[in-house]
């Protein structure tokens, strides 16, 4: 994720990124460094006082604290879900720090006042907070541990009436919008991790695109976990008003540590009449080492609602990181003629486990959804697709097409597909296709015989396999994502 570089636009030109793949395949996880930042932290553990502490740190209004406390009380009554095809030791929720903010000497009023060490951290990650240096027209909200550090291009966006800021700022400055839409898509009690997030979320991004406005640049949030023993709980809320359009990107990394760290985010998208939201993720949390030690536990609830006529929400995800991934970006197709899409590439290597997929809930008439899931498993990893297509009884003319392909590298990994289909309307058309294949010795030898070494051959084959999804990514992300796939599968064949 280096948006300040100018990438060549041809996504198909995989070979031009090959030399870069060569440079990086032999490198370990390259974002594993730790920055020396003095932090302002909550005491370890979670009780009501932790929730009050976070709310007070954020100087939140009373309604927000009440909302959090309600969530916390609900969470206490809930149990961690274990239906997913994931196996991990019990999480001790009292052994986590729920709030950690890098101390800044001054409260920065402008981008120039940001602590140089923080600025350097993001420079090292390839994220420039300097607007002048940015060529590709991507506005960034930079979040480290529990707080948003900076948001670029705010003023230019504000001229069009677009709000792009941290959710903490939105709670202060746009309380009406936050109160109207927060938890309107993912209710506080939706699931265990969503309830936990609602109680303790500390920051995240907020986007509002007004009626009829097409957002002129890509918006993105870059999430970084830095501090030890902390969990990251971010909350993102994106609203596209009638006829609006926005493309939003999310990236993330974390240091290499032997302990597992918890990341439990909630993302809510709301698209009104004729509005479109395109949400892309390149997930590169630290996956743990080759023996399966450490890595991020990634329990994320992402859901969008197409509330109006012809609304459209499209999720694209490239999942390469995390020790555990539990994530099902979903779309509620409420408005008539609304469209939901889910494009996913999930890569697991070594001892990584991923249980990911989507839910498409067809409620409105003539709603359409499309699911394209590409799972790549290597090493000793387990990769599951879990998807639900639900067609409600009033959803006349609903259509779904699902395609779930799995690619195996080696014979010690697993690929699983759990498609669930519930149709309550007999005019619906639901199609599901699934394939499982292995990278063949024949394919590798064929490439070798043409002078292509095995690592490059694997990169060509997996990028070919994942192409349909990669083509959905905004240009700035696509080339980077291709490199990431190759790096994640380093040493898994040959």
């Amino acid at each position: 994720m280096k948006p300040e570089e100018v990438y060549q636009p041809e996504i198909q030109e995989v070979d031009d990124s090959m030399s870069a793949i060569h440079d990086t395949v032999n490198s370990e996880y390259k974002y594993g460094f730790v920055s020396d930042l003095e932090a302002d932290e909550a005491p370890k553990g979670l009780d009501e006082s932790t929730v009050r502490f976070i709310s007070a740190k954020k100087n939140e209004p009373g309604w927000m604290l009440e909302w959090r406390l309600k969530a916390f009380r609900q969470w206490q009554k809930m149990e961690e879900p274990h239906w997913a095809n994931l196996h991990y030791p019990k999480i001790n929720y009292q052994d986590i720090i729920y709030y950690s903010a890098p101390k800044q000497k001054v409260n920065p009023k402008s981008l120039d006042e940001i602590d140089p060490e923080l600025r350097r951290t993001f420079e090292k990650l390839g994220i420039s907070l300097d607007e002048q240096k940015r060529l590709s027209g991507v506005a960034v909200d930079a979040v480290i541990d529990s707080v948003s550090i900076a948001t670029t291009f705010k003023e230019q966006l504000a001229e069009k009436g677009i709000i792009f800021c941290s959710i903490s700022e939105a709670i202060q400055n746009h309380p009406d919008l936050v109160r109207e839409y927060l938890s309107s898509v993912v209710p506080v009690t939706d699931n265990y991790f969503a309830a936990l997030n609602s109680a303790v979320f500390s920051d995240g991004s907020f986007v509002y695109i007004p009626k009829g406005v097409r957002c002129p640049m890509e918006l993105s949030t870059y999430f970084r976990i830095n501090a030890e023993n902390t969990g990251q709980f971010e909350r993102t809320l994106i609203i596209a008003d009638e006829g609006a359009y926005v493309s939003y990107l999310e990236g993330c990394t974390a240091p290499m540590r032997d302990e597992n760290q918890l990341h439990a985010a909630v993302v809510e998208l709301v698209a009104l009449d004729n509005a479109e939201i395109k949400y892309s993720t390149v997930q590169n949390w630290y996956p743990g080492d080759k023996e399966g030690n450490g890595g991020i536990y990634n329990f994320v609830t992402k859901r969008g609602i197409c509330r109006g006529y012809k609304s459209k929400i499209s999720w694209t995800q490239v999942e390469t990181g995390s020790a555990i991934t539990w994530k099902y970006p979903s779309v509620i197709l409420k408005g008539d003629h609304s469209i939901g899409e889910f494009y996913s590439v999930a890569v697991t290597n070594n001892y990584q486990q991923a249980d990911t997929g989507t839910k498409m809930q067809h409620l409105g008439k003539n709603t359409r959804s499309r699911i394209v899931s590409k799972g790549i498993s290597a090493g000793f990893s387990q990769n599951s697709y879990r998807g639900l297509v639900h067609v409600g009884k009033n959803a006349n003319g609903a259509r779904n097409f699902s395609q779930c392909d799995s690619l195996l590298l080696g014979d010690k990994c697993g690929a699983h597909t759990f498609p669930y289909i519930e149709v309550k309307n007999n005019t619906a058309v639901v199609e599901h296709e699934a394939t499982t294949s292995k990278i063949g010795e024949d394919q590798i030898f064929y490439c070798n015989q043409r002078g292509i070494d095995t690592e490059t051959a694997v990169a060509l084959i997996i990028n070919g396999f994942a192409k349909e999804v990669m083509n959905q990514l905004p240009m700035e992300f696509a080339v980077e994502a291709q490199k990431l796939l190759a790096i994640s599968l380093e040493g898994s064949v040959g």
Partner: protein
């Protein structure tokens, strides 16, 4: 150019090559013929370095280097090209992309600068005309959904692009009708020069009507049992492989 001495190889526990001796000089075309199961394709695979085969004895020298010490991609870099009997499919990877990667990897091995998009396109146009292949095929995923003839023509196109020193054609005629054979053979003939050599592995004589060999060798039961000129191929066509079997049987 190529000197094979007492080459023996097996797959799993089965000994297939039992002592091959063969010398190929620059500018020559050699044909290896033989009945099914005689070891023709194994010889082609062993020369290219297919990992399933284990060389148990003998040596292969190629342009002064010990070929058996080199990995398959190094052999390609040195100038060995194998046109596959069954070219593989790679979904989602365009043929053009694949060939561009291959050409530039080979150039890198030889210490040459990679071709940029303009240079590559120019080379591609030139070679496309030479082997009568069209652009639409090259924009599609590698070999996916190609007909038998298209796959083989694509092999010859790759050969033209990579400009090998030694091209090995493994049953390139199998499954092709006569028109396709003619197109493929024309491509090969245009690529012949005094600096490179071709080893044609085939079951039937008919390909040799179009690619005329300097030498013909008959492989039987893992050994070259008879060598001659192109007349030997015609004799085989006329009398079938049984006469070879009988001859060898009598000697034994």
């Amino acid at each position: 150019m190529l000197s094979i001495k007492n080459l023996q190889a097996r797959i799993e526990e089965k000994q297939i090559l039992k002592g091959i001796n063969l010398d190929i000089k620059a500018g020559e075309v050699h044909a290896i013929m033989g009945p099914n199961g005689s070891g023709k394709s194994t010889l082609a695979s062993v020369l290219a370095g297919r990992p399933e085969y284990e060389v148990t004895d003998g040596s292969v020298e190629f342009l002064g280097k010990d070929l058996l010490e080199l990995s398959p991609e190094e052999r390609a870099g040195e100038g060995i090209f194998l046109a596959f009997q069954y070219p593989v499919e790679i979904p989602g990877l365009t043929t053009t992309n694949f060939i561009k990667t291959a050409v530039n990897e080979v150039r890198k091995y030889r210490g040459q600068e990679p071709y940029d998009a303009v240079q590559f396109l120019k080379l591609m146009r030139e070679k496309m005309a030479m082997v009568e292949i069209n652009q639409s095929l090259l924009s599609r995923s590698l070999n996916e959904g190609f007909s038998g003839g298209e796959k083989k023509r694509n092999e010859i196109f790759q050969m033209a692009m990579l400009e090998p020193k030694l091209a090995i054609l493994d049953e390139t005629d199998s499954g092709l009708d006569i028109d396709a054979i003619r197109i493929v053979a024309n491509g090969v003939n245009k690529l012949r020069s005094k600096d490179n050599a071709v080893l044609v592995v085939t079951h039937y004589q008919r390909l040799l009507d179009y690619i005329v060999p300097d030498f013909v060798h008959v492989l039987y039961n893992g050994r070259i049992v008879k060598s001659g000129t192109k007349e030997l191929a015609l004799e085989l066509e006329e009398r079938g492989y049984d006469f070879i079997k009988n001859e060898v049987g009598q000697e034994a």
